[in-house]
Subunit: 344 residues, 4 copies
């Protein structure tokens, strides 16, 4: 099959390129980028392995998005920014399977998109057709989707352990999510705040409470507004760690629901009472999930459950999940191209 990447020189696009370059089903892979169009791929992305460059499967030159869209092949991955992504993909929507890594098609509730992104959801007539690509939850819909909205990194790490617990939560009780993100989560942008000298040996919260756009995305999936979501930047290149504190009616039932939801899932790894570490998912598509029960710690004597989940923000949080979505959509082995040992 042939795959095309829009935005191939950002961090997410580069990771898509690396994963797809050795994917057993992808025989032709086209990289496109506005900024690097016309440059040899080996120069635009000097970290690619000589084996990948010599494989004959990658386009030797980076195309412009317009050139790439002339013949996008079987699947188009868009790693463009929101707004630009939907507009750029519009000409091929409905003709090629599109996996959009931006936020443009993640919301059914247009009001939420509007308040989070400051504009109407783009390409309105395709919004209904989009499937939210949280693989483990919406696998069946993904199999038949022509437009897959790949979830954000924070929502992925937060929702996978949390959604199975929804029926077990005390209604209305605050869901307190504290999340740590690696710096690549902010993209490859020329801004002072992302410089090494600003981020090494530094940590801070940002957009606390409900200010972060991903809070809206999580709330959309939760179907409610009891969410308090505080993300933090910490000195990690890749990695994400989410700690979620919820009130449950009965902890053991809730833990059973979590165990059951993870059972048989190739990428969901339960670590029990041992908190997961981000290094153990670095460079992989795994979600490692730990949990702690504090009996009768809640407001009315209910149990408290603390969920801890770790992903690599560029893998399961972006490019890895996008490829998993492709695998599901095209009927490949769901783990194809995605089995890899983590960093030590």
């Amino acid at each position: 099959m042939k795959a095309t990447i829009l935005g191939a020189t950002g961090y997410t696009g580069m990771m898509l390129l690396r994963i797809l370059a050795s994917h057993p089903e992808v025989k032709c892979l086209v990289a496109s980028s506005r900024g690097a169009a016309g440059r040899p791929l080996a120069e635009a992305d000097p970290g690619l392995s000589p084996a990948a460059l010599a494989s004959g499967r990658l386009s030797p030159v980076v195309l412009s998005p317009a050139e790439a869209l002339e013949d996008p092949g079987d699947v188009l991955f868009s790693a463009l920014p929101h707004g630009a992504s939907a507009e750029t993909c519009a000409p091929v929507l409905g003709r090629t399977v599109v996996i959009d890594l931006s936020a443009d098609f993640r919301f059914r509730d247009a009001g939420r998109y509007r308040s989070a992104y400051g504009a109407d959801p783009p390409q309105a007539r395709f919004q209904e057709k989009a499937v939210y690509g949280l693989c483990e939850r919406y696998r069946e819909s993904i199999r038949h989707a022509s437009l897959i909205a790949n979830p954000g990194c924070y929502p992925t790490a937060t929702l996978l352990p949390l959604l199975p617990l929804l029926p077990h939560l005390l209604p209305g009780a605050p869901i307190v999510v504290n999340a740590l993100s690696g710096i690549t989560g902010a993209g490859k942008k020329e801004v002072i705040n992302l410089l090494y000298a600003e981020r090494t040996e530094n940590a801070n919260a940002y957009n606390p409470g409900r200010r972060h756009r991903h809070a809206a995305e999580i709330a959309e999936q939760l179907g409610g507004e009891t969410l308090l979501f505080t993300p933090h930047l910490v000195p990690l290149k890749q990695g994400m760690l989410v700690t979620t504190t919820v009130t449950v009616r009965d902890a053991s039932t809730a833990v059973d629901a979590l165990d059951s939801a993870c059972s048989g899932e190739p990428f969901l790894v339960l670590t029990g009472e041992t908190p997961p570490e981000t290094r153990h998912v670095r460079g992989t598509n795994q979600v490692r999930i730990g949990r702690e029960v504090v009996a009768k710690g809640g407001y009315g004597g209910e149990d408290i459950l603390i969920l801890m989940s770790a992903i690599d923000n560029l893998w399961k949080g972006a490019a890895g999940q996008a490829v998993q979505n492709m695998n599901i959509r095209f009927g490949f082995d769901e783990t194809a191209g995605l089995l890899r040992e983590a960093d030590l």
Copy 2:
């Protein structure tokens, strides 16, 4: 005045040495250590400045604890581990002002100490006399104390913004504390889990819920058990960031109480809705405190307040606060030796 440090070669002890070496009131400073006794100080701690070493104020050789206790001077700082600290200091308790940086005298509730530390509180007859050295809260008692229990790093960063809000919290509602710590918070220990290769580009929670000993210390100060405390290790040498989500009856009254508690305090810096960054307190005794109000986000429609506080775990979280306690106790300017610009 003369000051003596027990445990001068651990990270806390080394920081005490650096702060006290240029303190305007300390004319004689003795370093002691079990492991380094008998070695020249310049060799045991090669990072000390030539100016400090040449000042004539520091003992040129590291003493054994026993030697140091023969004449501890006006104030004895103990940076020994809990248990060992109280036992080692016992001979001089009541004769010299002791500032103990271990947990040995932090608890009034012996049961709490016992369940957190697995032993009875040591030196029982001195427990009543100890003052909990959270400077901004217990300043008046500290002025007259002969035994000051210097607080833990997590409790310091958590309690300073939280205690003023206690009267404004919804009773019984969970207090959710998520905290990030620099690696020096774990001490200078020869353990695999603290190696560079284990900690760089890695993050994980540990002892979630109520398992960490500092959860007991915080709970003791809060006087209740609605605390959920999840600490995390992140790749920072020095630094601590605490994010606390609480339910308040009325956010604006609560914010007023916070502002009022910080007013006039030389080390408490309010950053308003801008979340504090750990680099801005690195190498200083400051506590930077930000906050976010989420109106009507609580269980019963109450307001939610998110507090974010940053300290340097070795300064305000340990050695800096210990010196601040000395300054208060001896009637020095409270900021003496503690005004210093942060890391960039």
Copy 3:
């Protein structure tokens, strides 16, 4: 085939485990360790992927070295410390192909080993049989070797670009090698000097001139003593960067020799005048080599050539090269199990 690893819980052993777990020719893989014997592998090395653990190819429990040696299979990798390595492998030397990652069999000149390691080379009767496993240089001998001495990390990164230039160097002129190493190069040891807090944001030379044991190993291969080798520790988990300044009779002939030696080599990547970056080899078996000519910069007006080479100290510098040696020895595709995209 069946492979056995001695010392599977150190950094090198863990990396061997990860590479071999997905090697297409290894059907059975046994991990052994003195410290972890008897523990489930999933617990001794919690970072292994669930896919690897479920593959049925790995021994589910860590064996003791003695147990492992009862039936080591077709190839035995020893990641034990020098001295212990040769002694432990002795019983199977000559019966099983042994790839020794320690220094025990790297030297032909016993005097060099003795002055570097402070003891006679162990297992003297096997010393003659050992082949120095610098793959690109000794490939033909490796094909028939029963005992392969896997080179050290510094020697690998230094020698691969340098050996082809030997005939072109000005005889006697100093070869100045400055090298930077990631911290895993020092092993997984419980020592203060390797703690995160000691190594982050810190750099220093160590064992300068000729004091490092690897200086002896490099000198053995160079066949002379004009080497000045100064290694440095920098804040990298994995990675090694070597900068070598040599005087050559004619730069363009020397560059041709370098180009020619790298031609067709799957793991040697020439970057020309662009200095290589360690991230581009992180997690791969590549050696990236750049060079700079300074015309007539030498003592007598000769040209100067500056070689810059980057490897991952745990891959090409240890476990990766060991597997490459196995591939050569057993007639597999030399890149089997070793093609992998680098870190971004």
Copy 4:
């Protein structure tokens, strides 16, 4: 006295601000910046301590360079880029003491400046008057200078141990300098190559041989061209480590010359055969210098001397040395405002 800083929001300017804010002789300190003009200082540089901001010594608002030059006070520090620096300072040259941290006045040899910086040296009529502000070498000239060209970071770390050895070097033998720099050495610039995600866990040489502008500056001071200078970027925020390998006629005479040059110098710290560590100079104005002798290691049997020097690139490599120059020029204690304990 009154001091003014041009370029106060770059890393060097911010460090000048921090050092001067607590300098005992500076009673009025004005910050100026093109980009931040008109903004409150507390907002433009949020890391300044509350004590400094409340001291009444700092201008509360950032001025434009033009405003600042109306009344620059007793001393003007320029942390502007080369070219812009000389042009902006021109109106006050000769009227106010100017300490220029750019390269504009560092060269006597205009040809060298031209080939390194691609333009004629600016403000030609002042070039003769400028004194190269390498404090320990040119102290007497600095006392009377009205224009001080503050040295570059690499030249400072390289030259201080090397210049005393010049008479002892084997003439013509290559001087091989390998240097590691922290990322702040590249300034506070919005470029991809300086992002956290590009620099963490990464190392590379750049501008090897003689391509770096500082090679020209070092060569100017050495008075010859046998220099081979290869700088490297490593993951350090602040810090610089230089390893210099030279051929000397007699090592013990050379070491004596080094010892003698450092004797009595408050900021030069000899560490003997123990290589210096960058953390021990972090946040200080120290130069720590170690050395290793390799007897008879040279081309003709001469001795080799390896010098290792560590500085903080923002202190002794920029702002700290600039303040030291001010102290010398105005007859203050040379260490005023510059004695500070290093990072642990």
